[in-house]
């Protein structure tokens, strides 16, 4: 368990550098690198607002999550947990209040 946490932290740091993703954003999910592809697991996803190979927009409990990349696909989406695989280029997040103010 201890080693897993350490690995996760190491992963996050590495991904953070390559993807320019806020670490706090991923604290609810797990990001893994697998043969050049990324695999991201996110909790608290209420609904998929938009689904596409280049962009996915997810409505979470805290706000709206944008995932950008190439050949993106959702390999699992159940019990509010989504797993996205693909060449993830960037992930951005808009908090709930900001989202309400926006065009969602």
């Amino acid at each position: 368990m201890k080693n897993k946490k350490k690995d996760k932290a190491g992963f996050l740091e590495k991904i953070n550098k390559s993807l320019d993703v806020d670490a706090s954003l991923l604290c609810r999910g797990f990001l893994a690198e697998l043969r050049g592809k990324y695999r991201i697991e996110l909790c608290g996803v209420k609904k998929i607002l938009s689904y596409g190979e280049g962009e996915m927009v997810l409505n979470t409990v805290e706000g709206v999550l944008y995932v950008y990349g190439r050949r993106l696909s959702s390999t699992s989406f159940k019990r509010n947990v989504i797993i996205i695989e693909g060449d993830i280029v960037a992930i951005t997040f808009e908090k709930l209040t900001e989202a309400l103010n926006g065009n969602i």
Binding site: G52, S73, S74, F77
Partner: protein, 389 residues
């Protein structure tokens, strides 16, 4: 396709790319397992089990989302195809059952080594001991059957039953001695009156001479004789004693007789013989009267020069007749009398030598009577057992 998908069936659903998010949200909200969501041109494809696809389709219908099932596979799809082609499925199952069942049953019995006993007699002996066409291979102990046949049947010295696939090869060696000679003491006595012409005695003491007139019942060759020590001993008298005898044959043909006449009414039952079982497949002989001739016709199935198989048919024909009073003329009665006499003479000539024949006839009001007096030379010796007290 994995084993799970193979068993439960897999379906590929296609929707518009615009509805991809809606489809995934439905799957998440209603907990419908799915996999491999992919885009191709303007279409979005998703895979799920056949059972889940029905649920998914209902929800899409309610939400007015257009979808299309583009492909399906697995066992449910195969069963659906089989439902439309029941014949293939039934044929495969029947073929499997037939091969499995019929390869474990005796189809034919081949008998070799028999000289005096016919093949069908040997088969009948085997049937009495629980083996034959239709017996299940492996369930019958052949050694026990062989031993019981040799024990119970004096005509068979040795028997061996070997299975070659579904054919039973039976080899037998018959007993050389045949019927055992009787050791019972007996005399040879005359069966009718006559004058002795020739004596051929093999055993016993001859009690008559050539030229003697003997009566029926008189001892011709005795089985009792006195030994040198003054004791009496018995033996079985054997031999032939030929004598000149006279026989009278009378044939009476009445002018009015009851004759059998067929009414033309025919009924029949048809059976299919399947190994030892006989199954009735057709019959219309329910109201047949008791005055009828019953004819049995059997047929077996065989292809060209191949051996016949134990599947055949039996047709039982019931031909009704009635008894009618018929009047015959004197000429017809005479012809019938002569034909009856001819048949009796033929039978007598098999065992006797005919020397003289004298015919006479008589016509009464009711019948034609033909008398025939015969003089023959025949063997009049018959065996009469001696009770030794």
């Amino acid at each position: 396709m994995g084993i799970y998908d193979l068993i439960f069936g897999e379906v590929i659903i296609s929707l518009s790319a615009r509805d991809s998010a809606k489809a995934l949200n439905i799957c998440m909200r209603y907990e419908i397992p799915h996999k491999a969501p992919t885009f191709f041109e303007d279409e979005f494809y998703i895979k799920m089990t056949k059972k889940n696809s029905v649920y998914f389709s209902n929800i899409c219908g309610e939400k007015k989302i257009k979808y299309k099932i583009v492909d399906s596979g697995g066992a449910p799809e195969l069963l659906r195809l089989c439902k439309e082609r029941v014949g293939i499925f039934v044929g495969l199952v029947s073929c499997f059952l037939l091969v499995f069942f019929f390869s474990g049953v005796v189809w034919r019995v081949d008998v070799t080594g028999n000289e005096n006993l016919s093949g069908s007699e040997v088969e009948e002996i085997l049937n009495e001991h629980g083996f034959g066409v239709g017996s299940i291979i492996g369930r019958t102990d052949l050694k026990i059957i062989e031993n019981s046949i040799m024990r119970d049947n004096g005509e068979i010295a040795w028997i061996s039953v070997n299975m070659n696939g579904t054919v039973a090869n039976v080899e037998i060696i018959e007993s050389k001695s045949g019927k055992a000679k009787s050791k019972q003491s007996s005399n040879l006595v005359a069966k009718r009156d006559g004058k002795i012409e020739r004596i051929e005695a093999y055993n016993g003491s001859v009690a008559v001479n050539v030229g003697d007139i003997v009566r029926a019942g008189e001892v011709l060759v005795g089985g009792v004789y006195e030994s040198e020590q003054g004791e009496y001993r018995t033996t079985r008298a054997e031999g032939e004693v030929y004598a000149r005898t006279v026989r009278e044959i009378t044939v009476e043909i009445p002018f009015e007789t009851e004759e059998k006449r067929y009414t033309g009414k025919r009924r029949y039952n048809l059976y299919v013989n399947f190994f030892k079982k006989s199954i009735k497949i057709f019959g219309n002989s329910r109201n047949v009267s008791s005055d009828c001739d019953i004819i049995y016709k059997n047929g077996e199935v065989g292809l060209f020069s191949l051996p016949t198989i134990p599947i055949g048919y039996e047709k039982v024909i019931y031909e009704e007749y009635e008894k009618a009073l018929v009047t015959v003329s004197e000429n017809e009665a005479m012809e019938r009398a002569f034909s009856v006499l001819k048949a009796e003479l033929r039978e007598i000539s098999n065992e006797a030598e005919l020397l003289f024949k004298d015919l006479s006839f008589e016509v009464t009001d009711s019948s034609y009577i033909l008398n025939c007096k015969l003089e023959l030379i025949e063997n009049i010796a018959i065996e009469q057992k001696i009770d030794v007290g």
